[in-house]
């Protein structure tokens, strides 16, 4: 049986609390709300806040931890799938680019007045001094030394020996040992384009100081070297200097982007003239 005499303090607190509640039920706050209502609402809001926090904690724990037991495997599978799709995307992109390049090459082939043979660049040159590439066409395809190699952007270079049965080496026009007869398309001022170790990597020499050339003029092959077919584009004049002596100093930006050379056309016309089989310069 409850002996309240031994629990006098608790009884006192209970009685006092009951009277505090009683008073609160009668008194209003400045906002016109009864104190009991305000205190009750405040207390219950705290309880509700605590309950909501607990529920959120449980829900958070459930959704972020317990419910995610299989997510790691799923995540790994999705990562693999994304990687596969990225590879496929790259392949599609490469195919699209290659299709565009082939289309340009086909256009060039159809427009060319000389017989040509499509070839693919299969290797570069490990020696940075020698700017050459290897193509997948050789003597078995009718490729001979000193045949010109062109691309949609213009002249690429020439075949240099020895020519293998199914491969050949191409000396790029920007090689420092390469050269080609050239002229300004606008004024027909002639000269010779040579490769240099500079930027831009072509220089047009032997152009008289009296010749009318200026930056922006197109430079095309003159055909006098007997290798490169006449009229094919080499590049564009970027800078013209007065130079010293009788000739101007002219720099030319090549029309071909040699950093992304993949498909080329070999002009199947045997070279003519005195420079056959040897460097022009």
């Amino acid at each position: 049986m409850l002996d309240i005499r031994k629990r006098t303090g608790y009884l006192f607190l209970t009685v006092m609390m009951a009277q505090v509640i009683l008073v609160s039920a009668q008194v209003q706050t400045k906002g016109g709300v009864r104190v009991l209502q305000a205190v009750t609402f405040e207390l219950f809001s705290r309880v509700q806040f605590g309950t909501a926090s607990g529920l959120n904690f449980v829900r958070h724990g459930w959704s972020n931890y317990i419910a995610l037991r299989g997510v790691k495997g799923e995540n790994d599978a999705l990562r693999r799938r994304v990687a596969d799709l990225e590879v496929k995307l790259q392949q599609e992109h490469a195919l699209a680019t290659r299709s565009q390049q082939l289309q340009a090459l086909m256009d060039l082939k159809s427009q060319a007045t000389v017989p040509t043979l499509a070839a693919e660049v299969i290797a570069g040159n490990p020696d940075p001094v020698m700017r050459t590439v290897t193509i997948d066409r050789g003597s078995a395809d009718g490729v001979l030394a000193d045949m010109a190699v062109i691309a949609p952007g213009g002249i690429v270079g020439r075949i240099i020996g020895p020519v293998a049965q199914h491969a050949a080496r191409v000396q790029l026009i920007i090689d420092r040992n390469a050269a080609a007869g050239a002229l300004s398309e606008r004024t027909r001022a002639g000269g010779m384009v040579v490769g240099v170790e500079a930027n831009p990597p072509l220089r047009m020499e032997l152009v008289s100081v009296l010749a009318d050339v200026k930056p922006g003029d197109e430079v095309v092959a003159s055909g006098v070297d007997g290798i490169f077919p006449k009229g094919y584009r080499i590049g564009r004049i970027e800078h013209v200097d007065r130079g010293s002596g009788l000739y101007r100093t002219i720099t030319v930006r090549p029309g071909v982007d040699f950093s992304s050379l993949e498909e080329v056309l070999v002009v199947l016309v045997p070279p003519t003239g005195a420079t056959r089989g040897e460097d022009v310069k």
Binding site: I4, R5, T8, L11, F12, V15, M16, Q19, V20, L22, V23, Q26, V27
Partner: protein, 172 residues
């Protein structure tokens, strides 16, 4: 028995208090018989009885007064509890300590009552010290007298009865 005494004492005090409510001193009722009854019960029966008497008497007095019910109840609950605790800790069975308890309880009650109203109802703290002192002294006198009547009344009555019987036998 104790419960009956408690109810009777408080009811009688309330009835008398309402009857005597016209007796004023400086705007304050000169005696608070309910408070006297509560202090009396706390001194006589201890903290729990004093506390319950304070709660009951205070709430009823508040309800009858028409103000905020509970402020007087809380004040008197504290008074009853405190007096009961003190009576169990100290010897308060003589007249002077009891008088001191009644006076102190009156002052403490008035301070808490006025303070409670000032705090809860926003009423200015309007304790009149002189009137409270008078009420405290009157309460003390009433309380001490009540103790004397209860404790010494039967003995006095018996002594009187005995003296009357002796005198009668002499007369008859």
């Amino acid at each position: 028995m104790k419960t009956a005494i408690l109810i009777l004492a408080l009811s009688g005090a309330l009835v008398l208090q309402t009857t005597l409510s016209g007796v004023m001193a400086g705007g304050t009722i000169a005696v608070n018989l309910v408070l006297v009854a509560i202090v009396y019960l706390a001194l006589a029966f201890g903290a729990v009885t004093g506390m319950l008497a304070g709660t009951f008497g205070g709430l009823v007095q508040d309800a009858l007064a028409g103000g905020i019910v509970g402020i007087g109840g809380m004040s008197k609950t504290i008074i009853g509890f405190a007096v009961g605790v003190l009576s169990s800790q100290f010897n308060l069975s003589t007249t002077v300590p009891r008088l001191v308890m009644f006076v102190a309880a009156t002052f403490l009650h008035e301070i808490m009552f006025e303070g409670g109203h000032a705090l809860i109802a926003g009423r200015p703290f309007g304790l009149q010290w002189s009137a409270t002192l008078i009420q405290a002294l009157v309460n003390g006198l009433v309380g001490v007298t009540a103790f004397m009547l209860v404790e010494r009344g039967p003995e006095t009555m018996q002594r009187r009865r005995m003296s009357r019987g002796t005198f009668g036998r002499k007369r008859f």
